[in-house]
Symmetry: C2
Subunit: 120 residues, 2 copies
């Protein structure tokens, strides 16, 4: 079993706050969104998403999400290219969280963002 570094910046004992400590920087959840949509994703494919994640933030978040067991490397013989990532069981369990956020956005933010597409 690989060594995992502990997240040392928990701000409180609240589980909602703790989830946001990891996911609330908006970039982490976009990485997870891409993996829900595409199943596997390489480093360079992540940078092609329309939100334009910077390479230093991407590298930092991939390391954090890996350390916390949310994403993992795809076995090299199964990956089309090196350094592809996929969701673990923990990461896949975030799918309903993201979908409910997307449904809320489409219902309540479309007024402010008319070109928003509907949730798939």
């Amino acid at each position: 079993m690989k060594e995992r570094s502990a997240q040392s910046t928990w701000r409180s004992v609240c589980p909602i706050s703790s989830g946001l400590d990891i996911l609330g920087d908006r970039w982490s959840l976009l990485i997870i969104r891409d993996l829900i949509e595409h199943t596997t994703r390489t480093y360079s494919q992540f940078t092609e998403a329309p939100e334009k994640i910077s390479t230093n933030i991407l590298a930092d978040r991939l390391r954090l999400l890996s350390d916390l067991g949310i994403i993992e490397h795809v076995e090299p013989d199964k990956a089309l290219r090196n350094n592809a990532y996929q969701l673990t069981t923990s990461g896949k369990a975030l799918k309903p969280v993201l979908l409910s956020l997307g449904r809320w956005s489409h219902t309540y933010l479309s007024e402010y963002h008319p070109t928003m597409r509907s949730i798939d």
Copy 2:
């Protein structure tokens, strides 16, 4: 009807990304969490939460959430103190998003954060 400023920094047409443009800075959702738990909250009460939001971030996020119709001022005659806020219908609709995030955290992050309490 009060004037609302438009959010001008939508990064894409994706509804999940758009939700994160508003809520993905971790502080906005903590304000909403406090209002779910306490129904109304004054400016100074928000600063007493254990996550220690700074006053300049609090003021900025209260304005943003108000502009987007997610929170609103409590009518002065119903508030114990001035400047109390409450959730609108839009804000209340975020409750299932936050609860599902809290449940996920408690299930998958407790290993890294042993003192986390369970979701209420």
